[in-house]
Amino acid sequence: MSQDDPLWRNTAARHAADAPRSVAVLPPELANQIAAGEVVERPASVVKELVENSLDAGARRIEVTIEGGGRDLIRVEDDGCGMRREDALRAVERHATSKIARVEDLFAIGTLGFRGEAVPSIGSVSRMEICTRPRDQLEGTRIYIEGGVMQEIEDVGMAAGTTILVEELFYNTPARLKFLKTPATETRHITEMLVRVGLSRPDVRIKFVKDGKLRLDLPQVDRLKDRILEVLGREVYDDLYPTFEYPAIHGVVARGYFSKPGHSQRSPNNMYTFVNGRYVSDRTIRAAITGAYKHLLERGRYPSVVLFIDVPFSMVDINVHPAKTEVRFHDTQPIYRAVYHAIADALAEAPWLEGQAARAYNLGERRTLSGDAAEGSMAAGSPAKGGGFTGGMLQPGRVKIEPLNARHRRLSEQDRLDPGELRSPFHSEPRDVQGGFIARGLTPLSEPPRMDLGEVGGSPSGEGGPSGRDAYFSTLKVIGQFRRAYIVCEDASGMVIIDQHAAHERVGFERLKALFKREHKETQPLLFPLRMELDALRSAAMSEAMGFFAQAGFEIDHFGGNTYVLKEVPAVLQRAPHEKIIKDALDDLSNFGGSSRVEEAMESVLSRMACHSVVRGPTQLTLEECEGLLVQMDQIDFRANCPHGRPVYYRIPLMELEEAFDRR
């Protein structure tokens, strides 16, 4: 590019050498300060590094004290294994660590730290005191470092463990000091960091004192959910449900808690994800979580999730950045699938309804439209069926009995259905030679069909549905209809109002999806093939993704260079923005190793079809029709929300009603 170009200015180019320059080794203090620039960004990074060292030292109690937002003082005290004097002296040298010794260890890092950079980096930009004593020694060691230079070494009497005091952070790097925010902001960063640590280690007591005031005190607990209660509060706690234990995918397992769709917030701050115990902010994991919630949350809303992902050491590289909140996965597909299924498969079951069903039963007023069969199968000991009928069955983790849940059984049952039983909106008439199109022709999509709930199966017979899970909607007693748009029902301890359009829509959508899944291979040729000129990155991705697109129903030919020609599209997407979907999917494939764009686009079309195919305006329903709808609601996934994420039902507890009438 010409230097004359007025729009092109590159400072680095102007500083490039025009003659050989001499090369010199940097003094250690300067080298440490440079390294500190990466490791020690702000007080929160100091706290993070020191707390992680405490955890790696086996501490069961960690106390963090700060003053002036961490700028004036940071003290981290633990009851870990401590260090001997010679080890403590070595710890302040760069690249000195007890956590790895050989190159192979880099690929099996189980500890939180390993680089041997944190302590010397912190020491080089502050006044630091390290006091440490192993349990088997009577006296500890005190080391004082100022600006990276060791000033004092002496014996000290102290409890077993390590206490590190960092004062006047960045006192010798004023440029860095200028970048620090207000003490309140820096304190917030430290609190957020400690919350993450707290969630990752419920077995460790964590105290945080700011300017002499206790800000956080997390006692040791046995269960993660108890720690969540302490950290995220009752509101989040009440809305969390355990993830589905999906079998390991290439050794990757995701487990933890997720919030029900009714609970959401405007920022993704409550999405805590840990890889091998380390807090990680990763795009693939986030994409999988948001993918699991698609159609359940409105755009711009985020769930609360605390998720631990176990990944074989060989599949993850944590040596990407000194801060170690980024990791690199060798293959992102298993990560995406493990996270997605852990949440989506549990969401599909709407476990928050089970509690209400159980409550109804326990109060002895349960009325089932389909209860006989359900109870019968419970008697036969079906592990996943009728969880609401015994108190113990409702406990988180009951699905451990089987590797897959009721949803998978339901889907496989749908796959076994006689094709004639359900008629697809994409159904092709049998093609005969006389009918033409013998080479590639296909019956085109017809107008979106009007969904007749009676027509597409799911009759309200006394079978309890194929779901094999706790019935809720079918246990409700229908009181009547309000404004011909809402079905008013009661359960044992409250009044339940059901949006009949949303319920119809969800039933229609799930049925369409099931039908489509079996016949999604149907494609439609484009009248004029679409030439797509891709940039170099997308072109490289496309050359590897041809199989992916072919499987999704896109026929794409390489036209030479970076040009590809789209010739056929999935029939359901014949009116979709093809080029945009393909380019977005290519970007996803490059970034995450997988993409759900095609599926999302298809579901968006199906969702629209479902919406248009059911009665939208007020419609009078008979009692039987209301009850039939409720039974069908129990037979489908994601029964608590319509395909657009709106709730299907609203429940007013009896207690609330009584309070409103001053009866309590």
Binding site: V433, Q434, G435, G436, F437, I438, A439, R440, G441, L442, T443, P444, Q524, P525, L526, L527, F528, P529, L530, R531, D557, F559, V565, L566, K567, V569, A571, Q574, R575, A576, P577, H578, E579
Partner: protein
Amino acid sequence: MRRTPASPIELIERARSLAGLTLAELAGELHIEVPATLRRHKGWVGRLLEDALGADASTAQAPDFAALGIELKTLPVDASGKPRESTFVTCVELAHPDDIRWETSHVRQKLASVLFIPVLSEKGIPPGDRLVGQPLLWQPTPAEEALLRADWEGHMRTIRQGYAHAITARDGEVLQIRPKGARASSRVWGVGPSGDLELIQPRAYYLRTGFTARIIARSFALST
């Protein structure tokens, strides 16, 4: 000119491989010059595609791919897939109408199996820039054949009575008859009102645009 395809599948595959090319790209492959305008080169597009696909018709009445019994029809369409003109089928047999039955008629033979190749022909697009679309091997459904037959039989009744000259382009639901000749003064032998043969203006069968539009619409999606 390429080798004649040995089977309908080979023909279709060959046609599919042309889809997405411009006529200039296709003509370049065949070393054929592209005219600046089609005004003085009527039929150039059809001949280009016949050459590219290896058509082997020896007579005007035989299908373009005689061995396969498949007729090739290029279909000029606009960007929304709507045909821009009616589709020529074959000349009307005016001389001995009493001897012809639908089953053995040229119209029936020509339309028994047609390979439609849409070509993007928007106004203002030079011939070389026009895009070749995806092929469609069409055979009339029973309902379509019934429509074609009803129109053909209606036309033939009029012709047998000696009133061919009275048939206008408005007659026929899907199959129309229009004058066709090299010049306006062209004449062929046909039955006159008296029942005797006389010289009358030549005519030909055309598929109406609405008919071909329906075939295209139900078979293809449009890129968006």
